[in-house]
Symmetry: C2
DNA sequence: ACTATCTATATAACTATTTATATAGAGCGG
DNA sequence: CCGCTCTATATAAATAGTTATATAGATAGT
């Protein structure tokens, strides 16, 4: 499971479940999300399996926290995950499933509406990622090519997000243009159409 | 759940679970996969919920099959799914999670190896999609802009796949180039480095 | 006849994920 | 002091998805 390995990667330095969830919210969330209700039992299982160890620590703000560290075994598991090569993910993209069936709507205007909303969402996400990039660039003059390895690879994932979203936006625009052409065409030839003389 | 709605979309014409699985394998699989062991109980539940109806039919090649049709209620559910707007998917991309942590490998050559494998996989998938596109174009002279609506939207999803994979390949090449620069640089300045005079 | 493959359905066991809920201390605003 | 938010952990219940396995008729090849 990828969550296990992601937690191992994040546990480069010891952290509590709550802190790990924050790591997800900051950078990782764009390609992998996890809820606390999934993180806590996973950490417990991984400790049971000897991949992690934990100790309780008093907290200045709130109840005591359980801080996890990865063990030698955990480090090996992370290493193995990385050198085994890319996991070909069962990439589920639900909006494409919707697009696939848009032709079954009685009115193409509803399909246009759909693609317009998708375009807006992608534009928003692209703006978000650009904001993150700008922030990184501002606070570190070494951005992007003089960054330490530790930050180079996360930066690559951000770059992938930017490139995919740019491609997605381009696709939306192209699709909307083609759909509108199609709507105009259908409008003009209402009735006759189809077969030539 | 998206699987429910996908099945409703596929059931434009009545079909058995086995046949629906084949529909997945042909076109849909690139952005949504499903196993028979998931499809059968889902069809059962949807029938119980009144979204589908079924009847048994003798088969010429094998045991009798249960053929499902969507009900009026099922059609409404599909319609609602489409007009509600794009589902923002929790898009999980496990290879990006791996890339994120590649800096924790002791040897950057292993990271290069990883990105090379990813590049190869993407190139293969891109070739596959291009093959599908070529097949469609060959068997239908209306491809792509004179296709009936029914085929226009599936064709758009194929196009999205092509564009995303092209972006992905570009990213791999760019990342490999930058990683190799980085490796050369590290090699040259073994020891001194960092601070200027 | 034997074997493999394809059609066809189904279930059990397991793993993963989401949503809802409970608990409890600490700090802040009104 | 009351309610709100944040820190912090945890569990229950439900849903979703994967892997393994069982059954059985039909057809094609050896």
């Amino acid at each position: 499971m990828a969550l296990d390995h992601i937690l191992l990667g994040l546990l480069r330095r010891p952290a509590s479940g709550y802190a790990l969830k924050k790591d997800f919210s900051s950078s990782l969330q764009h390609f992998w999300a996890a809820e606390l209700a999934q993180i806590y039992p996973t950490l417990g299982r991984m400790e049971k399996d000897g991949l992690l160890s934990s100790r309780q620590q008093p907290s200045d703000k709130g109840p005591p926290r359980r801080v996890y560290s990865r063990t030698r075994k955990g480090e090996r598991a992370l290493h193995d995950w990385l050198v085994q090569g890319p996991e070909s993910d069962r990439n589920r993209i639900s909006y494409l499933a919707q697009v696939f069936f848009l032709g079954q709507l009685d009115d193409l205007a509803a399909a246009r509406q759909f693609l317009g909303e998708l375009r807006d969402e992608m534009a928003t996400r692209l703006a978000t990622l650009k904001g993150i990039e700008a922030g990184w660039a501002k606070q570190d003059p070494r951005y992007p090519d003089e960054l330490p390895d530790e930050d180079f690879f996360p930066q690559l994932t951000l770059r992938m997000g930017l490139m995919k979203l740019a491609a997605g936006l381009e696709w939306c625009d192209e699709s909307l243009r083609r759909l509108e052409q199609r709507m105009t065409r259908n409008h003009k030839q209402t009735g006759p159409a189809a077969a030539g003389p």
